[in-house]
């Protein structure tokens, strides 16, 4: 048996290299439901306030309380925010996983741990900092029940001392975290100080991992994608929201409820300019959205994979009857229930082709909170413009993690409500037909219920209908509608958000990615460039694809389509439509284990494929 280590920061054989200023990761291993979430957010925000780019990813179980949870904070002076596979600093307070957690730290790393766990004997290439959390928290928190919660803040203080976080920023972060509730701030600040002081008194200062102020976060915000979607929808004028809770989409609507209550209730009358209703299931939720969209409201729902599957029949109806609808699909790991608290891009193919018969839908593919915000607006515009369902394909990583983002810009265009005819406008049509292609773009004109004009009323249906919305079983009349629907989607190619292209003149390799994969791709490209392999990059932002996508592929010898699913679903959509010579250039690179994708993995895989 070894002697209990004196609390001096037991430094073992260092194998990691040199100094890491503003470039490392902190991995906090706790149990869920224990309040560690506020400690971690405080930590994240304090670093953010120091002007240093930072990102946080929460790896939590599909359960409410008592199971292992990990939170990883990546500090990166260059602004890389993808998941990093390195663990430089570990905070180990969960006995159940502590031994494994220690094994995962990279040589030379630091381990702050709960003293009774006695982890310091596990490896000799790490520096260990035992902290007697219980002992420290008891005197400052008289109420036993609160101790567990507050005790987590102690490691924030310890880290502040060890890494050089300004305690004033910690305090500012606590204010934000507890929304100005002074008592809570005080209590927690006390705990942080206790941690700080304890570290100062007992640990040697380390120099390997340090933080230094920068100015890279000025004007930025910290936000999760679901909140961004809620805000985007509110500023897009959503007025009917129906939903059924499902991880990881729940907070889209919960945040929306929060904001709408504040900004969309008439101060004078107390009346809302919206309706939010929790439906009995996803079939009802999408049914209500379709009913509301048909009747002229901007309507949306938010869900995840199983909900998408349940909405299948109704989405076919909306496609064929041409009813606007906005769906947020915050993707989690499938198939079936899958891993509800892990991330994936696994619903792409399902959503693009959802329902039996020939159907095809518009997908928007945000990569960042800014883009979720914007694309929420685009989604409502496109849904009404094209009178069809539009899917905003977010994912758990984007939706539920905290992201550094630019402040959102107020929309610069008025709402586009599409081709809706008033009674007066109807007058101008000699031979009005609800499903007629007046403008040659495949998009018909519609009327809303309540329009007082003999030409206005029509009987919407999912059964065969002709251009006048009359029931038909006529082969020709049916085909006319189907061809127009196909044409409508062709028109959509030019209206959806264009891809973002970063072309490198010297690149032979092209890369296509979308959504949250973007961040690891960016980092990988920098690494590859540094190694002498420049790449061009097209970030998809929508389906159907605009012409630029094909052109981009055609310009490159080989193009990697990188995505987070097993079957290369986006690639499949490309393969469906592109000529063989374009397809010949495409290669599939997939990562789908449920963790946010990292540049390490992508780089390794791509280099491997290059050698094949």
């Amino acid at each position: 048996m070894q002697e209990p280590q004196a609390s001096t920061g037991t430094e073992h054989k260092q194998t990691g290299s040199g100094q890491h200023t503003n470039d490392f990761t902190i991995h906090v291993a706790t149990v869920n439901g224990s309040g560690s979430q506020s400690a971690n957010n405080t930590l994240l925000r304090a670093i953010f306030y120091m002007g240093i780019p930072v990102s946080g990813k929460n790896l939590f179980p599909s359960n409410i309380q008592g199971m292992p949870t990990w939170f990883t904070i990546r500090v990166n002076k260059d602004g890389y925010i993808a998941r990093s596979e390195n663990i430089d600093i570990l905070v180990a307070v969960n006995a159940e996983t502590a031994h494994e957690d220690v094994q995962a730290v990279r040589p030379g790393g630091l381990v702050i741990y709960d003293e009774p766990l006695k982890l310091d004997t596990l490896r000799d290439d790490l520096t260990f900092y035992p902290v007697p959390f219980k002992k420290l928290v008891t005197p400052i928190v008289p109420v036993a029940k609160l101790r567990k919660m507050v005790s987590n803040i102690i490691y924030v203080g310890v880290l502040a001392q060890l890494l050089g976080i300004d305690m004033q920023e910690v305090e500012k972060a606590l204010h934000k975290q507890f929304k100005g509730k002074l008592k809570a701030v005080e209590l927690n600040m006390n705990a942080a100080k206790v941690g700080f002081d304890y570290a100062q008194e007992n640990f040697q200062q380390q120099k390997t991992f340090t933080l230094e102020r920068m100015d890279k976060t000025a004007g930025k915000i910290i936000i999760d994608g679901n909140s961004a979607g809620a805000l985007g929808s509110m500023f897009a004028g959503v007025s009917v929201v129906t939903w059924y809770p499902i991880t990881p989409s729940t907070s889209v609507v919960e945040k929306l409820m929060h904001y709408m209550q504040k900004y969309r209730v008439d101060a004078k009358t107390g009346k809302s300019t919206y309706a939010i209703l929790q439906a009995e299931d996803e079939l009802a939720a999408i049914g209500m959205v379709i009913g509301a969209g048909w009747a002229g409201a901007r309507a949306m729902t938010a869900t995840s994979g199983p909900g998408i599957s349940l909405m299948t029949e109704f989405i076919g109806l909306a496609y064929f009857a041409e009813v606007p609808a906005v769906l947020f699909d915050v993707q989690r790991v499938g198939p079936s229930t899958g891993m509800p608290t892990r991330t994936q891009q696994g619903d792409i193919l399902a959503c693009a082709t959802l329902s039996h018969g020939d159907t095809r839908h518009i997908l928007l593919l945000p990569s960042s909170p800014e883009e979720v915000f914007e694309m929420a607006g685009d989604a409502f515009d496109l849904a009404e413009q094209f009178q069809t369902p539009v899917f905003v394909m977010s994912d758990l990583d984007l939706g539920m993690n905290n992201w550094m983002a630019d402040k959102f810009s107020y929309p610069d265009k008025p709402l586009n409500r599409g081709k809706v005819l008033s009674a007066e406008e109807l007058e101008k049509f000699e031979d009005f037909g609800r499903y007629k292609d007046e403008d040659g773009d495949g998009i018909p004109y519609r009327t809303l219920p309540g329009t007082k004009h003999p030409k206005a009323p029509y009987f919407t249906r999912g059964s065969g209908h002709n251009i006048y919305a009359h029931y038909t079983e006529d082969p020709e009349e049916y085909s006319v509608i189907m061809q127009r629907l196909a044409k409508k989607l062709e028109t959509a190619r030019t209206a959806v958000p264009a891809p973002v292209i970063e072309e490198d003149e010297n690149a032979q390799i092209g890369i296509i990615a979308y959504g949250t994969t973007h961040w690891a791709v960016q980092e990988m490209r920098d690494r590859l460039r540094a190694k002498g392999t420049p790449t061009s990059y097209l970030r998809l932002r929508a389906y159907p694809f605009s012409d630029e996508v094909k052109a981009f592929i055609a310009r490159h010898e080989r193009v990697y389509v990188i995505e987070q699913n097993r079957d290369g679903q986006m690639l499949a959509l490309m393969r469906m439509e592109y000529p063989a010579e374009v397809i010949a250039r495409l290669r599939s690179l997939t990562v789908y284990d449920g963790l946010p994708v990292s540049a390490d993995t992508l780089t390794r895989k791509l280099e491997h494929m290059e050698q094949e």
Partner: protein, 349 residues
């Protein structure tokens, strides 16, 4: 001939709104000759016409089935939505959330409601969405050629000889149990009662659930069926007698307050109920359930209004909807000011 003083002469076939009857009519029915559903469509035409409802202010909704086709056969001047099987309640709820000033009438079948649609039915009843919800109830799936639905009685027989052995869902009991605020049953062949109930439903601003027994002449009108015209005629019993007095008829109706109950509906119309059991009150859920169960035990098919409660808040009250419909709100009421976004961004820094 003399014209009464107070009423100005109108051209035939228009109502007080001056709207012609033809605007209340629908397309030519493609249902079987003699189908109960057609009779119901006629009553709907009549009720909306006589209640002077602007047809442009109505939306008609349905699921899938012979019954669900019938909105094509009434109210041509109303927007309509023939949705998917069993899910009309959600479409109706959404459409009315968007335009809560419109009058909604939904038509469903017993298969559409009680089999595939029972989930949405249950939750519609709980929410008190202002909607007239009609079940055209023939005990079978007409459109798929005559299989049992979940309202078929135990012992009822199909043409194929198959006998139903599963307990029927009594949609009226269920609606009452679940909190619906207007629950009635009628018979497609009973013009007078059905008209009165429909008008009362139009006047009620909450979910008005009407189960209308509507025989399927092609698949369920034979000996051995408990939904045939003859069976229904033999077994129908009035639970109460329903008289409807519209708000615009300034007449005084004489009645005995000891035996007749007057219920004032949301638009000021009144419904007079008489000849029901003595201790019965129209807003007593427990009693209504009791009488329904007892009637069933006696083998009676009770019709009439079983339950009305005009005090409950409806969904749109609970949602605090504004006077205008959400669909018609202008951009400046839908999109908050830039200051709001600034404030929120500030919070997030």
């Amino acid at each position: 001939m003399e014209t009464p003083k107070s009423k100005p002469a109108r051209p035939a076939k228009t109502n007080r709104l001056g709207v012609e009857l033809t605007l209340y009519k629908g397309g030519k029915s493609t249902l079987c000759a003699g189908c109960g559903h057609n009779a119901i469509s006629e009553r709907i035409v009549q009720a909306f016409f006589e209640m002077n409802i602007d047809p442009y202010q109505v939306i008609k909704l349905s699921g899938i089935g012979c019954s669900s086709k019938s909105p094509a056969y009434f109210l041509n001047a109303s927007h309509g939505f023939n949705s998917v099987h069993g899910r009309m309640p959600s479409i109706a709820t959404g459409a009315l959330m968007a335009q809560h000033n419109l009058i909604g009438i939904g038509v469903s079948g017993d298969g559409d409601t009680a089999s595939i649609g029972i989930g949405q039915f249950v939750h519609l009843m709980r929410r008190n969405v202002p909607l007239i919800y009609i079940i055209e109830d023939n005990g079978v799936y007409g459109l798929t050629k005559g299989q049992f639905s979940a309202t078929a009685d135990i012992g009822s027989k199909l043409k194929t000889g198959i006998v139903n052995e599963y307990p029927p869902i009594d949609t009226c009991s269920l609606a009452i149990e679940l909190g619906a605020t207007f629950v009635a049953r009628s018979f497609s062949g009973d013009r007078k009662q059905l008209s009165a109930i429909l008008k009362a439903a139009i006047a009620h601003k909450g979910t008005a659930m009407i189960d209308v027994i509507s025989p399927c002449v092609t698949f369920n009108d034979h000996e051995g069926s408990t939904r045939s015209y003859s069976y229904v005629q033999e077994h129908e019993e009035y639970f109460d007698e329903v008289q409807f007095v519209p708000y615009f008829d300034d007449i005084t109706v004489e009645y005995d307050p000891g035996t007749t109950i007057e219920v004032t509906l949301h638009d000021g119309s009144r419904v007079l109920l008489s000849k029901m059991p003595e201790d019965y009150r129209p807003d007593d859920r427990q009693k209504a359930l009791k009488y329904l169960m007892e009637g069933k035990k006696r083998g009676e098919l009770l019709t009439g209004i079983f339950f009305v409660d005009t005090d409950e808040k409806n969904l749109f009250d609970l949602l605090h909807l504004p006077d205008e419909s959400l669909a018609h709100l202008p951009e400046d009421r839908l999109r908050p000011e830039p200051a709001a976004l600034d404030e929120i961004m500030e919070e997030l820094t």
